[in-house]
């Protein structure tokens, strides 16, 4: 009887151990399988991103959340370095987006994107600039009369949710984390204005854009200015509306300047080569060659007269029956 009891006990222990081992196998298998499926999904999201970027580049249209779904919730971490920029999906797959100038939040969890593309002309085409944001983003624009006409000329596509308020005015309460407040005003926001925004929209990213000087200022959570830079062209100014990290914005501005520098140097090289092709003695390219060299050395935001002069010189070449440079 005692032996029989021991035998039964042994059977139970055996069944329990064997069951635990089999269960452990299936559990490990399930977790491994889930991990692999997540990897696959991250890769597919990277493919979706790549396809949509190409779509934007070829159509130059804006994509709303319905046109740019991701098929699930994903976290994106965007990193910009001097030569490269990367988009890491769910801390797993890293997509190299170095070929694109992409303005978007540094860290974003979303199921879809709103996206837009604009060609940066200064005065010639330099590159495309991409803008991505969360579909729940709400832009609050605070404008003065100068800012009002600047905002009208931005031609922001309708897919973006933006409400414009005349300064001074109080903004409606908004508790969401995707609210963005931008001042398009000649003078920076005052401390009481910033304090009022913090009260009504506590998670808002606050930016000031000086529309005449093309200057951008970011404010931190204590409403202190943390970043201030002059930028070249409304396409780069617009980038501030889609960035939430001043350092990252600064990095992208530097990368855009590198793209500008490369394009300008190519045009100045072209201006050096063009005289070899022309028999027309009126076609002199020395002036425009030097103007281009000067243009790339000057701070872009203060080069409007040189820009105008370059356009005139290029037009003059055409008027003389010569090849234009750009």
């Amino acid at each position: 009887m005692q032996k029989r009891g021991q035998g039964e006990q042994f059977n139970w222990v055996f069944v329990l151990i064997a069951g635990a081992i089999v269960l452990a196998f299936f559990t490990v298998f399930t977790f491994q399988y889930i991990q692999l499926q997540e990897k696959r999904q991250n890769l597919r999201v990277a493919q979706t991103l790549g396809e949509n970027i190409r779509l934007l580049e070829s159509t130059e249209q804006a994509l709303d959340a319905d046109a740019f779904p991701l098929g699930g919730g994903f976290q994106f971490r965007y990193e910009c370095a001097a030569d490269h920029s990367f988009l890491t999906i769910n801390n797993d797959y890293t997509q190299d987006v170095s070929d694109h100038l992409l303005f978007m939040p540094k860290l974003i969890s979303t199921t879809a994107f709103r996206a837009w593309i604009a060609a940066w002309q200064y005065p010639y085409y330099i590159t495309h600039i991409l803008y991505f944001e969360h579909p729940d983003t709400h832009h609050y624009f605070i404008v003065d009369p100068v800012g009002q006409s600047f905002v009208t000329n931005l031609h922001l596509p309708r897919i973006f949710t933006a409400t414009t308020f005349q300064r001074p005015s109080s903004l409606p309460a908004d508790q969401t984390i995707h609210a963005r407040v931008t001042f398009f005003t000649q003078t920076p926001p005052t401390a009481p204005e910033l304090a009022a925004i913090t009260q009504t929209i506590p998670h808002a990213t606050i930016i000031h854009i000086q529309p005449i000087k093309d200057e951008v200022t970011f404010y931190d959570q204590n409403n202190d200015p943390v970043f201030h830079q002059s930028v070249a062209g409304k396409e780069l100014l617009l980038g501030a509306l889609f960035s939430d990290d001043p350092d990252q914005y600064g990095c992208l501005i530097n990368r855009s300047l590198s793209a500008f520098d490369r394009t300008t140097r190519i045009y100045s090289e072209k201006a050096k080569l063009l005289p070899h092709l022309s028999q027309n003695p009126d076609c002199t390219y020395q002036t425009i060659h030097h103007s281009l060299l000067n243009y790339r050395q000057q701070p872009l935001h203060s080069s409007s007269s040189l820009r105008q002069s370059l356009e005139d010189q290029n037009r003059d070449l055409s008027g003389k029956g010569c090849q234009v440079v750009f």
Binding site: A18, V28, L36, S58, D83, T127, T263
Partner: protein
């Protein structure tokens, strides 16, 4: 009875052991297959990205035609020569690759165009970096419109991109 019961238990353990081994092998095989399929998908995606380069490169401001600052749908052959040194100095970005534009029609001598030979030539190399030993070559081509500033004419050309692995 006692030894019969022992034998039965040993049999059960053996059967269970075999079943567990079979399950383990199955799981290992399945997971390995899944991993490989993800790797294959990744390789296919990277290959697709390379093939898309043929669509994006002619859009690059470095080579694209422009007139009074506005983009045009062609590649400026003079800009290829002007841009080549910038591409050549960026091997980190382009790797082991060969990017060439060739004039197809009207036919011209298949002579390489350089800053010293701007006319009577029909091949422009934007970037070239060939490894010593080439294991595989991935090649993609597309026809496009080339602009020749010396004659102010648009000609039919071909863009060829080759990527090498060593």
């Amino acid at each position: 009875m006692n030894s019969k019961a022992q034998l039965q238990t040993q049999e059960t353990i053996l059967v269970l052991f075999i079943v567990v081994v079979i399950i383990l092998l199955g799981i290992a095989f399945f997971l390995r297959y899944q991993r490989q399929s993800i790797l294959d998908e990744r390789t296919t995606y990277e290959r697709t990205q390379f093939q898309h380069m043929i669509l994006t490169l002619p859009e690059d401001a470095a080579v694209r035609c422009s007139r009074f600052g506005q983009k045009e749908n062609c590649v400026d052959t003079l800009k290829i020569l002007a841009a080549a040194p910038f591409f050549q100095n960026d091997p980190d970005r382009y790797g082991t690759m060969n990017i060439t534009f060739t004039q197809l029609y009207p036919a011209v001598p298949s002579v390489s165009c350089t800053t010293g030979t701007l006319t009577d030539c029909g091949v422009w190399t934007l970037y070239t970096q060939r490894p010593e030993h080439i294991r595989t070559t991935l090649k993609t081509v597309t026809p496009l419109s080339l602009y020749r500033p010396e004659s102010d004419h648009y000609v039919l050309g071909l863009l060829t991109i080759e990527r090498y692995t060593s």
